[in-house]
Symmetry: C2
Subunit: 272 residues, 2 copies
């Protein structure tokens, strides 16, 4: 059947092959026909910022996002803001307009205060980000991470801030799948969805709950339904497959990427 050649909207988040260098990740994308990549600051720093930007550019890849800014709940606000401005600069250098924000946990017993510090920090960062052409993509984190990583716990809460400060949000399947309000909040998010990330929930959870993820289609998340809602909300960007999983990290990156491509085509793409 003739028709326009569809853009492949799969993006490989490099955390899925955590122990690979930026070069290996970029080569893997090229080899498997993936046109987009999600980068992390630490491996980019390790490989070199300019060097990373160059290999990504030379390979013709889009950079769907940079992970991650945030961590705004600690005592040293000025240092946290500086770090976030550096992350915004790195987005510009890497050619992405999306900085994923993991906002930080509860350093004490004052969750309400921690959330206020996040809101204040975001308000301060938005002008700098806008001038750089970068969207701060607020990522609601699964409540399992509220204590140590992210006091932003629901898409509703993320959108309350996103609308107030004019930012974007991340819809990451593993963080939001349980939310009884998910469908309506995705609808509400509309054009504020700056990043859509998919993987599945690993049950039972492993010892390190950070690694409680598995490939799309291997867990209880209804990714077909979620993806249809995200598409209906108007999202047209790349879809990152981002899986933190000890077995995948121990496997051959090339085989992992091949499986990521298969899962994307079978589980996600039909609903886009």
């Amino acid at each position: 059947m003739a028709g326009p050649v569809p853009v492949n909207r799969l993006s490989l988040n490099q955390a899925t092959i955590k122990h690979a260098t930026v070069q290996t990740a970029v080569d893997g994308c090229a080899r498997h026909g993936i046109e987009s990549i999600g980068l992390w600051r630490e491996p980019v720093r390790e490989f070199g910022l300019e060097r990373s930007a160059k290999v990504v550019r030379d390979a013709g890849l889009r950079v769907s996002s940079l992970c991650r800014g945030g961590f705004l709940t600690g005592p040293d606000v000025a240092a946290a803001l500086d770090e976030n401005r550096r992350a915004i600069d790195e987005c510009v250098a890497l050619g992405t307009d999306c900085l994923v924000m993991v906002v930080g946990g509860v350093p004490d017993r004052d969750l309400v205060g921690a959330r206020q510090r996040v809101a204040d920090g975001i308000e301060q960062l938005v002008p700098y980000a806008k001038q750089a052409g970068v969207t701060l993509a607020l990522e609601p984190m699964h409540p399992i991470f509220c204590a140590d990583r992210g006091v932003l716990s629901t898409l509703r809460q993320a959108l309350d801030w996103a609308e107030r400060y004019d930012t974007g949000v991340v819809v990451d399947a593993v963080h939001v799948w349980w939310d009884p309000e998910l469908d309506e909040q995705i609808r509400r998010a509309g054009s504020r969805i700056a990043s859509y990330q998919v993987c599945d929930w690993l049950s039972p959870l492993p010892e390190d709950v950070l690694l409680g993820r598995t490939l799309p289609g291997s867990g209880p998340i209804d990714l077909d339904r979620m993806t249809r809602h995200v598409a209906k909300a108007g999202y047209r960007g790349d879809v990152e497959v981002e899986v933190f999983n000890a077995e995948l990290w121990a496997a051959d990156p090339d085989e992992v990427i091949a499986e990521v491509v298969r899962r994307f085509h079978s589980v996600v793409e039909p609903a886009l």
Copy 2:
């Protein structure tokens, strides 16, 4: 200072000393001046239902709740409803008007369907419970348990059902503490709060996340704030200390109960 002798509103949930018999738990309450106990069906069955009822009654204890009914998401609806009716009967036998409902997880990939089965099941059980004088206390579970234990994930969702079917709700600190809407949903709950359970979040989580709890005051939960909101909503019942924790389970029950009493007096009672 003269005045009315305050009722001690501490209730020992027997899961806090999981390996003790009903007799040991009841004796411990008596020894430490605790006037109320939260029971579980399995140890009650092990000790004998009538025998449990008798030792509790003879000790003059209130039974603040029975854990647990629920598990309404599986394929055999009729069997699940029967099991819940038996749990309601056990409430009557034990002299408690509060059955804690843990509604069940997602057996497949259909979270929306699982939630509908819960709603349908509750609707069917309410007349039987009312006739028995038992309140079905819907317990929102931390989203970490959505896959395998409880698709009821927020107090808002619990109250939507509680208002529709005329049931109660449980406010369990460890399940709801992260919720950005907590204060307003507790206010909304008002007289529907059928049980208030406290413990703290254990961070980092242990290998078995079910045991990710610790004694009130040892974690990041602002129990003072939560307790004040629960009191302001009008709750006048007993407050269960319910801690699943491997170290506590391995310790001498009598020492655990002594520490529970201290924590209740220092962390919870001042806010009641």
